[in-house]
């Protein structure tokens, strides 16, 4: 009987050589006349161990990593196909602390299965949520999601059930479900991992959303920077149509849902939901005024649900196991789990899905193992390019939407980027302001002009020119951006800029702290 070997197809694993390792394993097996069944799985999210090869043995799946092409022959010599000892051997994958300590609900299948095998999906609890939803009324499906306490995982943390209820109760012949897959925040990759590693769960989640609110058309707005996700999603959608999980008569229910992937074109602002809808309509991605809410007048003027990938991918398990099951994880008003992404200067970068409530310090030291360079950690940016930098004194903040908000920080999409003590916080603040200038849609003045003037003011400060005059000017400008911008791009760029200035004034050349406030 042939031995099953897993090598991830995840694009980060591929970026470290997984395709070459897979090819080398096949070639070596052929040379040795050994029959193997090589499966390309998603990534477990233990990226410092990628390419992570797993072998199915009597003792479960045994892991080896990080494997390079040059290790392959030695692995065969060590009989890794039967779990043989080797310096890269990690033991049973499920027993690794990093994985064992997690609470994987949304990521339950990722890394275990062949992402584009519908059989694998069905054999691992796939489509159980949809099967339940097909037997329920619109209102009951919405109620399950409301009861779960799920809040938008894209960053805004708006209760998903309330959004769905608004769309359900807005009468219209045509409604839409949009998945916001424009994951543009630096330090975030959980959406990408879901789309590459378990695309059916997103397809299922969107189908359930369609049934819940009475929408028969869905669009996944995917960023063009994710070609691997594009291929995986299209493959999953094609198989779902062929097996009657999408189309005009889902599993004989007479209910219809159609799904299509649309590509963005490198504009960060299109992750803002109204800009995204403009883009889907074929226009420049200019932010719309709200109201009207997209739930009432969204895509092509119709009631529209716009949810992030992780929000929608969390729906199947809620419909499968019930809203209560999901709600019982978490703390305060942050219910369920959040897939956190550890990135930047961190020893053990990867995906950590946990119930809300762990502290940032536990995350970056217990899971992350400290900085990659071994130097002290100076700052951690949480929540992408619009999130604040947290200094050491804030590392004990629990990962919870309200606890972060109380600190004038942002949990956002759960991206965590670590910087060691060589980081220049003034240069980073300048970068954040410049990023806003590059990515501004140009509709509102504070963001369009304020970001350019802001970059100039930070340049003045960095060059040491009239610091005592320019610091108050920068603060005043940030105040205008915060209060006067149309959307979160201009409205939240002050978070990284001011947090850098407040916590690290010395990097801005401010020696007299009275100038910093």
């Amino acid at each position: 009987m042939s031995i099953t070997v897993y090598v991830p197809c995840d694009s980060s694993a591929v970026s470290l050589g997984a395709d070459r390792v897979a090819a080398a394993i096949l070639l070596e097996a052929q040379k040795r006349n050994i029959s193997i069944n090589l499966i390309r799985n998603g990534s477990r999210g233990l990226y410092w161990l990628e390419p992570l090869v797993e072998v199915v043995t009597d003792a479960g799946r045994i892991a080896y990593g990080p494997v390079q092409v040059s290790d392959v022959s030695a692995l065969f010599e060590a009989d890794f196909l039967h779990g043989g000892a080797h310096t890269l051997a990690l033991g049973a994958i499920e027993e690794l602390d990093y994985l064992k300590k997690q609470q994987r609900l949304t990521f339950a299948r990722i890394g275990k299965t062949d992402p584009i095998s519908l059989d694998d999906y069905l054999a691992n609890d796939g489509y159980r949520g949809l099967n339940n939803a097909l037997k329920q009324s619109h209102a009951d499906i919405v109620k399950a999601v409301t009861d779960s306490g799920l809040r938008g995982r894209g960053g805004a943390a708006f209760p998903t059930g309330i959004k769905w209820n608004t769309v359900l109760n807005t009468a219209s012949e045509q409604k839409y479900i949009i998945c916001n897959a424009d994951e543009g925040d630096s330090g975030t990759f959980s959406d990408r991992m879901v789309m590459e590693g378990d695309p059916f769960v997103l397809v299922e989640g969107m189908t359930i959303a369609g049934l819940a609110v009475g929408a028969n058309q869905g669009y996944i707005y995917l960023r063009v920077e994710y070609p691997h996700a594009h291929i995986a999603l299209n493959a999953a959608i094609e198989k779902a149509y062929a097996a009657g999980y999408l189309g005009n008569d889902i599993q004989g229910s007479g209910k219809a849902f159609h799904l299509e992937v649309r590509l963005g074109a490198g504009a960060y602002i299109c992750g803002e939901e109204t800009s995204l809808m403009e883009s889907l309509e074929g226009k420049r991605g200019l932010v719309r005024f709200k109201p009207p809410l997209p739930a009432i007048s969204g895509l092509f003027g119709q009631p529209t649900v716009v949810n992030n990938v992780i929000s929608l991918a969390s729906v199947p398990i809620i419909l499968d196991k019930g809203g209560d099951y999901y709600r019982d994880f978490g703390m305060g008003r942050s219910r369920g789990t959040l897939p956190l992404q550890l990135a930047g200067n961190i020893k053990q970068a990867g995906l950590v899905e946990l119930a809300f409530g762990l502290t940032l310090r536990e995350l970056i030291y217990d899971f992350g193992g400290g900085s990659a360079t071994g130097r002290p950690i100076k700052a951690v940016q949480v929540g992408g390019p619009l999130g604040a930098y947290l200094p050491e004194s804030q590392f004990d903040t629990p990962l919870d939407y309200e606890a972060f908000a109380a600190n004038w920080t942002v949990l956002g999409h759960g991206g965590v980027v670590v910087f060691d003590d060589t980081a220049d916080m003034a240069a980073l603040a300048r970068y954040n302001m410049e990023f806003c200038a590059i990515e501004s849609c140009g509709k509102c003045t504070p963001c369009r002009i304020g970001s350019t003037r802001g970059t100039e003011v930070i340049d003045e400060i960095i060059s040491g020119h009239e610091i005592s005059k320019n610091i108050p000017l920068l603060r005043d400008l940030c105040n205008t951006l915060l209060n006067g911008s149309l959307c979160a791009l201009g409205g939240m760029t002050p978070y990284p800029v001011l947090s850098a200035l407040n916590h690290f004034p010395e990097d801005f050349g401010v020696t007299d702290t009275t100038n910093a406030t």
């Binding site: 963005g264 074109a265 504009a267 309509e281």
Partner: protein, 158 residues
């Protein structure tokens, strides 16, 4: 058949295939750029006519999105991630090294037409920073040395 008539035929074929989709403009622009590597300025009137838009509207959309380009790129485009996670792992030094090695700045193409250089704001490869992309291939944990090896390999393939 001249080169320009073949370009126009390609453009027209993309428009005809996609124009009836709701919100067809971005799919059409992607289709043209996938086929030609860029969106030629003289394809704008045909797109405008196909979608009943003004030329200004089409031009406005092309110019809004960083990904769309109206000039032919080099044979391969090198994208360097400039975002925070890559900066935390020496992305700025890598950026300078790549510019020096290729002898070009962002939005430029090498004199031999081999490589274009573009910034990108996150490839979603943040757990393996710093990251670059060449064509469809993504590379993680890139150092100056590994970049040189990658680019030499790409030169040999070209």
């Amino acid at each position: 058949m001249t080169e320009s008539t073949s370009i126009q035929e390609t453009v027209q074929a993309v428009i005809t295939t996609l124009k009836d989709k709701p919100g067809a403009l971005l799919p059409i622009l992607h289709g043209i750029q996938d086929a030609l590597g860029y969106i030629p300025a003289d394809s704008v009137p045909a797109i405008a006519q196909g979608l009943h838009l003004s030329r200004a509207e089409v031009h406005g959309v092309i110019s809004f999105y960083h990904y769309f380009r109206d000039t032919p790129p080099g044979k391969q485009t090198v994208h360097i991630c400039r975002a925070e996670s890559c900066q935390a792992m020496g992305g700025k030094q890598l950026e300078q090294h790549v510019k020096d090695q290729l002898g070009i700045d962002y939005h430029e193409t090498t004199a031999d037409g081999q490589f274009s250089l573009e910034p990108v704001y996150c490839l979603g490869n943040c757990a393996c920073s710093p990251a670059i992309q060449i064509g469809d291939d993504i590379y993680g944990k890139v150092s100056a040395q590994s970049f040189d090896a990658i680019i030499n390999e790409k030169k040999e393939l070209a």
